[in-house]
Homo-oligomer: 145 residues x 2
DNA sequence: GGGAACCCTGTAGCCGGTATAGAGTCAAGC
DNA sequence: GCTTGACTCTATACCGGCTACAGGGTTCCC
């Protein structure tokens, strides 16, 4: 099958398939005499695997690692566990940060109803006030991933 | 004050200050005879404002818009409200997606205890199985922001 | 043989910075 | 006066995970 069909069957863009090949996530397939990529069912299976991992937001580098591990089926799988653990921790942390953020934004939004002029806008006031109250390094380190 | 002091007092990297200037978020300051940027207190205030908005994960383009609005204090502030609403909706949606993801990952993690060999790894099995079961377009459109 | 749909490579753009290279400037100490 | 080290300058490239575009070649159907 050619790249268009592969992409359609995995639900991705053609460009993405070529990108995964460049990035070493999908083995380079054979070529037709005219230079078109020719894929087999194994390529589709692997591409779907990659996409499923991506739908779990696992970074490409980790997926590359998992694929390498899966290919050597006799090794202990502690690394897979560790990898999922690390990723899960990342997700939990990010979710908690978003929850805090959501609360702050909701509070902010409640400061200003419609129809005011800018000069009386509670949101702007609140933003400016909060910014002034901020210490030097409170968002500098540690808060960003 | 020079760029280093400004950056330290706002808790950002020196590079970031120059980046904000290039992006039009921070007014280009005067220069000393030797070409060093010379900032006043207004610059610090504005930089802190930008950083506070960023700590709320508001995109730079939106911050630029808010700054322009704040400078014209006689206009109605409906646009500020709308902007915060849109951002809040974005955050809510992303948080919900992360919650779903967290549940999926936790379920996945429970498939494999430590010490197995790869061939018996429940996580890999589960990942492969799930990938096979996937229809063509289930993650292609709509699911990503 | 003409046009649509497909494929190829290479390159640039998105976001919000971060990192590097290579050069100039300034203040303090010897 | 000279060196050292901290600071500053510009320009450019890099990160992830794609996406888009330019400028060509191929295949297939009417």
């Amino acid at each position: 099958m050619r790249i268009g069909e592969l992409a359609r069957r995995a639900g991705v863009d053609v460009q993405t398939v070529r990108y995964y090949e460049r990035e070493g996530l999908l083995e380079a397939p054979g070529r037709t005499p005219s230079g078109y990529r020719a894929y087999g069912p194994a390529h589709l299976e692997r591409l779907r695997f990659v996409r499923h991992c991506r739908s779990l937001d696992i970074p490409l580098a980790d997926i590359r690692r998992v694929l390498a591990l899966a290919d050597s089926r006799s090794v202990a799988c502690d690394e897979v566990n560790r990898l999922v653990d690390v990723h899960l921790a990342r997700v939990r942390e990010r979710r908690a940060a978003l929850e805090r953020l959501e609360r702050q934004l909701a509070a902010l939004r409640s400061q200003c109803a419609s129809g005011h002029r800018i000069a009386d806008c509670g949101i702007l006031e609140e933003l400016i006030h909060a910014a002034q109250g901020e210490a030097c390094a409170c968002h500098a380190e540690g808060e960003r991933r």
